[in-house]
Point group: C2
Chain length 430, copies 2
């Protein structure tokens, strides 16, 4: 083993970056033993030198010139935790070109332009690791790309956004509506002032793209992901799920079917007996189904400075070891090159609640609407009587196009006063 | 990438081995793409050539001469799934000496004599991987030794034996006693005719030793593990747990405290709100607490031919890639060299149910017995009245020696008719 230190440059010193600095300092002895050489922080790029920080950065390390830092000849590994597309992309590409390996937590960039980064890493013969980009501290990317490398993953169902899980959990436990639950999440710091990226599923969609790429050995970008957020989820939807002994979760779903990949993010009902149903508050979990291993679940904190820093440091140790051994780890694996299945052709199931006229023949007419669209029904439940009559229908599997056409048909029917809840059902075997 | 095939020798063709053969055949294309070279099975050692098998082994590959197979010059990787100490140890050592890398699922051997194997691998400059040895298909060893390499693990709580989890789950859901639940487990194939290795915690103890070694970067063998099985767990214990909104699980526990490692396997009550409480039937899960990542859980099938083969093949892909890149992965990491804390000094909590005389002052006397042994009480609950009076006491944290001395004191007291249940309490913060 070499005694030459592994020189690390850090881009960004916000909530994650400051925890990276802390761990590099506090666990220096352990890191040296595990990497096989001392790990030395040689520079930290920030936007403002005088901004308040959670950690004391050693004298002389701070710089506002990120580009000069990543192209320093003596830097072995660049850790990027600034997020966003630019300048992160340019800095990562320059770091790789200059011969550094890269560890990043940047899900948005990987989901938008991963292939450019992977190709640059491959060309440079360097590592690009990004465990922290999905589900914070939960080791999920490494298991997918290494532990399950001898297996065939068929489906990934993930709760990968803590903000929306907190809101939906609150709606489930307290009966609150979306707006009220969002407000509480904002007060507690679980949601940002502008919650769009979380609430409308953009954050989860980026993670879904990354998970799908790794699980199915093909390139999937954020543009390939069908995305629906949770802002339309109502207290009635949540109550309806409860009646079905189910719970509403925002799921990132990646499935392999007929050698095509289906990738989507949307709220869905899952049975309370499903392991994902017990993922509470802002926790994350990724449920993986594979041909040989069966059902696996990975659970933990999906965000936060310290958990995310744990994932970054894990990658840093691996990349550092590889560097000392003059090798690289598993790079991009996209040999399968599969097509992405359009959402309309994706197979799913719908739960539909309908406010109907109180007259004979209503059930038959509704059932006919499903049949006319080629959708078969698993459960019909009639609730209330008279003016309050409501029908709840859960379909068998059909394509999303057939199912949404059914809902359109229902909306046009005279006997239907209102379609009060439409939600997909996941996590059940047919 | 090389086109020279990676040559694999398989030792054992039982339930795991036959699934390894199946996956090597069915997923040959994917394996080649992931390893970077075709993966070729060149020999399978068995005890009897004509034994019935779950899989058709290609003509000419079967042999009864395992030693000749592992020392063949052209073999790159030896996969050992025969289990037990000998001849597995000798064969693995010979394989490493002959220049092959090794993938094994052998928890008993690793827990008894891991250091000998690790040293042989290090001396030979070859890989020794063993993900399948703990919790079947669940990727837990690789996350511990790689993903969490930049963090500081403080505690591991594992349900790592499916047989005992099935029995305890059955006792919890049906109210059955141990003997009845064991019988059902045997009928369903979850328990063997001689269930000792599972029921008395030997299997879990081996896995606890492996988990502790990896989590704390030190050598821990099966002999270091305090072990209690579940054969003494009564329906009354399970009912008492239920009254506390807890559930009884056989836990493998590895903890770091004052730089000492405490490793033990015993039944314990955990709150129903704990993620491990929802691990049902024969499933396994490992709950990891670390300084930066916080609480993580890894869940999945802990045994079975196909899940275990998935873990074996994942290792095989990594070892194969390392081989082609002329490198090795993370070897043994035992730099911390920590002492193992004796069970008497291990800090835990007790739940004690006591059948007491119906007279004034009983509660005071019992409380005094705890105080005399230096144990402070968290909860006392009095149940029933008159001749059926029972006291349930849950202690605060104390050493196991103090707690067991308290129980001895109680047993000697005149007012105590019987100590009906003694069980440790885990998974709660104090």
């Amino acid at each position: 083993m070499s005694n030459k230190p592994l020189k690390v440059a850090l881009l960004g010193c916000g909530s994650v970056g400051s925890q990276v600095v802390r761990l590099l300092t506090e666990q220096a002895g352990d890191l040296e033993a595990r990497v096989g050489a001392p790990v030395e922080l040689v520079g930290v790029s920030v936007r403002r030198l005088d901004a308040p920080r959670e950690v004391e950065v050693p004298e002389g390390l701070l710089t506002t010139d990120a580009e000069a830092l990543v192209t320093r000849e003596d830097v072995d590994v660049v850790v990027e935790v600034i997020g966003g597309i630019e300048p992160a992309r340019t800095l990562i590409l320059k770091a790789l070109e200059s011969g550094a390996s890269v560890v990043t937590a940047n899900k948005a960039l990987l989901a938008e332009d991963g292939p450019t980064l992977f190709e640059a890493a491959s060309k440079a013969g360097r590592d690009l690791y990004y465990e922290a980009a999905v589900a914070g501290a939960i080791p999920i990317l490494r298991p997918l790309r290494e532990s399950l490398a001898g297996d065939r993953v068929t489906r990934v169902l993930g709760i990968v956004n803590g903000t929306t899980n907190f809101i939906l959990d609150k709606m489930d436990t307290s009966g609150a509506g979306f707006a009220e639950a969002l407000e509480e999440a904002q007060e507690l710091g679980y949601a940002e002032a502008d919650p769009t990226a979380d609430v409308e599923g953009f954050d989860a969609a980026a993670k879904a793209a990354i998970l799908a790429s790794l699980a199915f050995h093909t390139r999937v970008t954020a543009q390939d992901v069908h995305r629906e957020g949770i802002s339309e989820v109502s207290a009635a939807d949540v109550a309806s799920a409860r009646d079905m002994d189910a719970v509403v979760k925002l799921l990132a779903i990646a499935e392999l079917r007929d050698d095509q990949v289906s990738v989507r993010v949307h709220p869905a009902m899952i049975p309370r007996s499903h392991p994902l149903a017990s993922v509470r508050e802002a926790y994350n979990a990724v449920f993986v189904e594979s041909e040989a291993a069966g059902q696996l679940m990975f659970y933990g904190p999906g965000a936060g400075g310290s958990p995310t820093a744990s994932a970054v440091l894990g990658d840093l140790v691996t990349v550092g070891r590889n560097r000392l051994n003059d090798t690289t780890g598993v790079g991009e694996s996209a040999y399968a090159d599969r097509a992405v299945r359009p959402m309309g052709e994706t197979v799913t199931r719908y739960h539909v609640a309908i406010d109907v006229e109180d007259r004979a023949g209503v059930l038959a007419a509704v059932a006919q609407a499903f049949a006319d669209n080629g959708v078969s029904i698993q459960i019909v439940r009639q609730e209330g009587r008279g003016a309050d009559a409501q029908l709840v229908v859960v379909s068998h599997q059909a394509t999303d196009a057939q199912l949404s056409a059914t809902v359109e048909t229902l909306r046009g029917m005279e006997i239907v006063r209102e379609v009060t809840s439409v939600m997909r059902v996941e996590g059940e075997s047919e």
